[in-house]
């Protein structure tokens, strides 16, 4: 039987490839990065929500069981140039020049981090001590700890601004990125643990620590770690030359609040993968209106794209958590397998 292509080796792709191999299916895992693991590994996240495990251990484990698997052929630093044919009989050409015969394909190509440069009024790119959640994750995971980039000092007051690059018509991002509230609460608690003298303020419009994240992150951060939540969306980050100045309207008491901070963190959202237009053209799949890869249906065929034989999983479909991406990877593996085995059976009869 022809192998199945899994494009993208993040949590979704790693889970799909492993599931396929576990069912005895030959799989080719292609990723454009030179390492597997997707955003958690490539960006260097710290302790993951909700397990608290370090990303390099948790996702590293998923990478290892795929890299050692005889049924899985891994191609790093590679992309797909062309893709044609019918379900059960696809042909693909890779950037390496290799030609593949495939039974089906899974798009597990994930997302792109929002680039805060697109929100210039919030100071990123102007003030070195304005950073993103991705950068704070790196500070923590590298073991260096949370420090102000300008001079390496320990911050005494940190602001986290939620919804940066999400829920914002001004910049055409009309979705909620789902995970950043919880990730921010997680980071806030980590900062309070590491730097007990440092106060953390979270500026929010709504708190979306959905499901079981509610008490573990939102309540815990307030009750145990004394993280402060301010209901305000700020208009601008400025500086007095020494510290960053965050001015907002505290909407609950209807009055302005101006607080100096040592560090301002953007809780950046999940943009559609920048490659999606190319992927849509190469694989002839439709994108939904925000620019993610469209699912054929939410219920009866949720792993299907608009093209039969091509499936999708994880953050490629829209903002997703790691655990949901993993679950979707398995679901897509199942759907793809059913598709190629159905064909194989038809052909054998």
């Amino acid at each position: 039987m022809k192998p199945i292509l899994v494009l993208g080796g993040g949590p979704a792709g790693l889970s799909a490839a492993y599931a396929l191999a576990a069912m005895g299916q030959r799989t080719i895992l292609v990723d454009k990065a030179d390492r597997l693991g997707g955003a958690p590994i490539l960006t260097g996240y710290a302790k993951l929500v909700p397990s608290g495990e370090w990303a390099k251990d948790a996702i590293g484990g998923m990478v290892r069981r795929v890299e050692g698997n005889p049924l899985i052929e891994v191609q790093r630093a590679t992309t797909v140039r062309s893709f044609s044919g019918e379900p059960g009989d696809f042909r693909a050409r890779l950037s390496t020049g290799a030609e593949l015969q495939l039974g089906a394909a899974l798009l597990c190509t994930g997302f792109t981090h929002f680039d805060s440069i697109n929100k210039p009024e919030w100071g990123f790119g102007t003030y070195p001590d304005v950073v993103t959640t991705a950068q704070v994750e790196q500070m923590i995971s590298s073991g260096k700890g949370v420090r102000c980039p300008s001079d390496g000092r320990e911050p005494e007051r940190v602001a986290i601004l939620l919804c940066v690059g999400s829920r914002d018509r001004q910049i055409g991002r009309e979705w909620c990125s789902k995970i950043c509230c919880t990730v921010s609460a997680n980071i806030a608690m980590e900062i309070r643990d590491q730097l007990p003298k440092c106060n953390v303020y979270i500026y929010y419009m709504d708190i979306r620590t959905f499901g079981l994240y509610e008490d573990t992150y939102y309540w815990e951060s307030q009750e145990k770690h004394k993280v402060k939540y301010i209901k305000a969306r700020i208009a601008e980050v400025t500086s007095d030359g020494k510290r960053l100045i965050v001015k907002g309207e505290d909407t609950l008491v209807k009055r302005p609040i101006t607080i100096p901070f040592d560090m301002v963190v953007h809780a950046i959202g999940m943009d559609p993968n920048l490659d999606n237009l190319t992927l849509s053209a190469v694989f002839d799949v439709k994108l939904e209106r925000h620019g993610h890869i469209a699912k054929a249906s939410s219920y009866t065929s949720m792993s299907h794209t608009s093209r039969p034989g091509v499936f999708v999983a994880g953050a490629a479909t829209g903002p997703e958590t790691i655990d949901d991406s993993i679950a979707q990877g398995q679901a897509a593996a199942m759907a793809a397998l059913a598709s190629v085995q159905g064909r194989a059976r038809e052909a054998a009869e």
Binding site: C163, A235, E236, E249, T251, K254
Partner: protein, 249 residues
């Protein structure tokens, strides 16, 4: 008992009893400060739609009360009572009586568009301020504000001739608002100018007031604009439940 954020409570709703004993305990003076509970009965459910029917107010229903507008607002920085977010909430809820407390400052929006730049929902708060000021005037809650007089003087000239001449706008504006042209600072300003360039300035002012600048062949545009304005006015008065002009019995 101390009351936090006392500034948020209107003085008339704060009650203190000089002499009061409750269950045998003397709570006279500030120990008996109460906030009078206020039952709201003045919801005007039509208010949001009425303001949405006026130019600029179309997107008021999008607001989710994040506060970016107020936070960025130029006028709010000068006068904290000027609060677009809060007014939008009052309008959407129909709290007309509350809104009317601020009726005399809504017009002060300087159209800097800082709010519109910041607003994540594209409510166009600047437009909502204009629509609200308009609504207050149309409903008779406020007299015509100087900014509206200015807009009208200016626009009428544009509609009439296609162009404006600033001196004429200025004179008409001062006349309509009953102000003297010879305000101390304006006089100082013109005098300062005239000393340095007497001939050029005076000549140009004189020419402009004799030959009004105008766009050639504007009459058809003028007719079309006036017709449209008439239709708009009819539609707006209908949306606000006002009698049509000229329909008085």
């Amino acid at each position: 008992m101390p009351i936090h954020e006392k500034s948020l409570i209107r003085p008339e709703n704060l009650v203190t009893h000089e002499q009061l004993t409750l269950e045998g305990v003397d709570v006279s003076g500030h120990w008996s400060t109460f906030i009078r509970s206020r039952v709201i009965t003045d919801y005007n459910e039509a208010m949001e739609e009425e303001i949405a029917a006026l130019p600029g107010g179309e997107y008021i229903h999008r607001c989710w009360q994040c506060g970016s507008c107020t936070n960025s607002c130029t006028v709010n920085a000068v006068n904290p009572d000027f609060n677009p977010r809060y007014w939008i909430y009052l309008i959407r809820m129909g709290l007309e009586e509350e809104l009317l407390r601020d009726k005399d400052i809504v017009w002060q929006c300087v159209s800097c568009n800082k709010c519109t730049y910041a607003c994540p929902r594209d409510v166009n708060p600047e437009g909502v301020m204009k629509a609200t000021a308009h609504w207050l005037e149309l409903k008779g809650h406020t007299a015509k504000k100087p900014s509206m007089e200015f807009d009208e003087v200016f626009s009428e000239q544009v509609f009439a001739t296609g162009k404006i001449e600033e001196g004429r706008v200025l004179r008409q504006f001062f006349a309509r608002t009953g102000q003297s042209l010879f305000q101390d600072w304006l006089v100082a300003l013109v005098r300062g100018l005239a000393i340095r360039r007497p001939i050029g300035l005076l000549a140009r002012l004189a020419i402009a007031s004799i030959f009004r600048p105008r766009t050639r062949g504007w009459s058809r545009a003028r007719a079309a604009i006036n017709e449209y304005l008439g239709e708009q006015e009819t539609a707006q008065r209908r949306a606000l439940g006002l009698e049509q002009r000229g329909s008085e019995r």
